[in-house]
Amino acid sequence: MSELNELYQQLILEHNKSPRNFKKLENASHYAEGFNPLCGDHYEVWLKLDGNRIVDIGFLGNGCAISKSSASMMTTSIKGTTVEEAEKLFEKFHQVVTGKWSVDENIEELGCLGALTGVSEFPARIKCATLAWHAMHSALTNSAKTISTEEEKNQ
């Protein structure tokens, strides 16, 4: 059960039960939805930018504990950061959950996201952990309004 405990840490279960910023932003400047066609997980992400700074963020949707807690932690992690900082964090987070980057060396930078590092032991669940992040990235770059996990190469 150790890997399972690692995956389903208390912090993750807690975010899953009471997701933060679980709301639609009425005055959002950026928006995108993330969709996993294989399992039907679906999230919408709203961002409000003031210049280059993310002053507010919200999300709504349905999915497993991993995808929902990751979305929730994402909102708390990037609220108040600049767009560049948010993108950089996504890059690091992505490397951690895909097992390409050691957690221990940089645990401080990740903050609560460190709780999601157990995902790297569960390849089938990586897409769950990154779904809302892809939507956030898409919203910020305006590349597409609906993104699909299938655009990410299989890990």
């Binding site: 890997e3 279960l13 399992c39 039907g40 997980d41 349905n62 999915g63 497993c64």
Partner: protein
């Protein structure tokens, strides 16, 4: 008397010993394979048949005059004969080898649908179809400006036959329904559906993917016009499937793909097509797959489909009772006529999380929408967890699943 009883005995250990993979471990736990609606495991006889084919018989079929080509052709056509007997078709000409159920349905959409469907015509499917029995018809309807109609179902996941009768009209050009629902387990009253459709002069395609491994199928008795299934859900290889079609209809249809084997003569001015079934089999087929499917059919026939049906029914009844009585579980699909599929949701826990935790216990189930998104929508859920049984499953394995669900609840407590 005694010998009869002995014969009727369903010796589960002997059956399980035929499947090497059932004796493997996953994450240090004994494998409990309950994802048979997705694909079934392969018995030794199928594995050995494939091995012998590639070691001793491999050649291209229907063209060589050399020894190996004759052997391969003989074995492949012998397998076609086994399929014919298995579903009680009238003639080998009615058995078309395809890649699987999906390709079989697409073949009908292309070769029958594109020829006979016109603007304003209608095709009837049901509310519990797999995407593979929805999308080909949508594509066809879009092209032909035809209309897709859907037979609704009730809260138990049973088709409402009265509504089907109302949908039938002179515009109806084809009815295509699933025999056994992959996400709900419902066994549909297809005999009645076929009868009503025929009274309306409409041919019927049956998606039999989830039926053939679990019950007797007799296409003559059903009187269906088309019947599609996959080899890999019947203990055979992936990449091989079957389309049965009544000869009289197949003869009126256009070819499917163009290429070698499906032609009689080719000039740059005109090509004439080969006889049935080859008219629909362009290119080198999955020869090993066809022969392997023949071995799989031998395997289930040796045990007997009626015995398999009765055994699995007992498993299903047990599973519905013990899973259904777990606190927080809601069963999805509670039809009176059901085959070995138990779909469920667990209060406040997403099916994906259930699947991951069960996997660590060695229990393989499927989670998600099972390629039936309209079914999920009908029940107002994004996904389900699904356990599906085959002849080699046991009550002990269902107990392992129940224990696993207990673990899931512990993790999320």
């Amino acid at each position: 008397m005694q010998t009869v009883e002995k014969e009727l005995l369903f010796d589960i250990e002997t059956i399980r010993n035929n499947f090497p993979i059932l004796h493997t471990s996953v994450h240090g736990k004994k494998l409990v394979y309950l994802d048979n609606a997705a694909t079934t495991q392969k018995p030794r006889s199928v594995l050995e048949t494939l091995d012998i084919y590639y070691r001793e018989q491999n050649a291209n079929i229907h063209r060589g005059v050399h020894h190996l080509s004759e052997v391969a052709t003989f074995e492949y056509e012998k397998a076609r004969g086994k399929v014919k007997n298995f579903i009680n078709a009238s003639d080998n000409k009615e058995i078309i080898f395809t890649r699987g159920t999906t390709e079989s349905i697409n073949l009908v959409a292309h070769s029958f649908g594109r020829k006979f469907l016109h603007e304003g015509d209608e095709i009837i499917i049901s509310a519990m179809e797999h995407h593979s029995n929805i999308v080909p018809w949508q594509l066809l309807c879009e092209e032909k400006k035809a209309v897709l109609r859907v037979i609704p179902m009730n809260d138990d996941g049973e088709l409402i036959v009265g509504e089907f009768e109302k949908l039938l009209s002179r515009k109806t050009k084809l009815v295509s329904v699933v025999y056994v629902s992959n996400s709900l387990g419902t066994v549909n009253p297809i005999k009645k559906i076929i009868e009503r459709a025929h009274q309306n002069g409409t041919p019927v395609l049956i998606d039999g993917a989830q039926a053939v491994a679990h019950m007797n199928v007799d296409v003559k008795e059903l009187d269906c016009d088309f019947f599609a299934f996959s080899g890999h859900k019947l203990f055979g290889p992936t990449g091989i499937g079957v389309l049965y079609g009544k000869q009289s209809i197949l003869e009126t249809m256009n070819p499917f793909q163009g290429g070698g084997d499906m032609i009689r003569s080719v000039t740059f001015e005109k090509t004439t097509y080969n006889d049935l079934p080859y008219k629909f089999e362009a290119g080198t087929p999955h020869i090993a797959g066809g022969i392997g499917l023949g071995a799989a059919i031998d395997f289930v026939q040796k045990i007997g489909l009626q015995k398999i049906y009765e055994y699995e029914h007992e498993l299903l009844t047990y599973a519905m009772r013990v899973i259904g009585s777990i606190a927080g579980v809601q069963l999805i699909g509670t039809a009176k006529e059901k085959a070995g599929v138990v779909s469920f949701v667990l209060e406040n826990i997403h099916p994906h999380d259930i699947g991951t935790i069960l996997d660590r216990e060695g229990v393989a189930i499927r989670t998600g929408h099972h390629c039936t998104q309209p079914v999920m929508k009908r029940f107002g859920i994004p996904a389900t967890a699904r356990a599906s049984f085959a002849l080699y499953n046991t009550k002990d394995e269902i107990d392992a699943l129940v224990k696993g669900i207990g673990k899931v609840k512990e993790v999320f407590a």
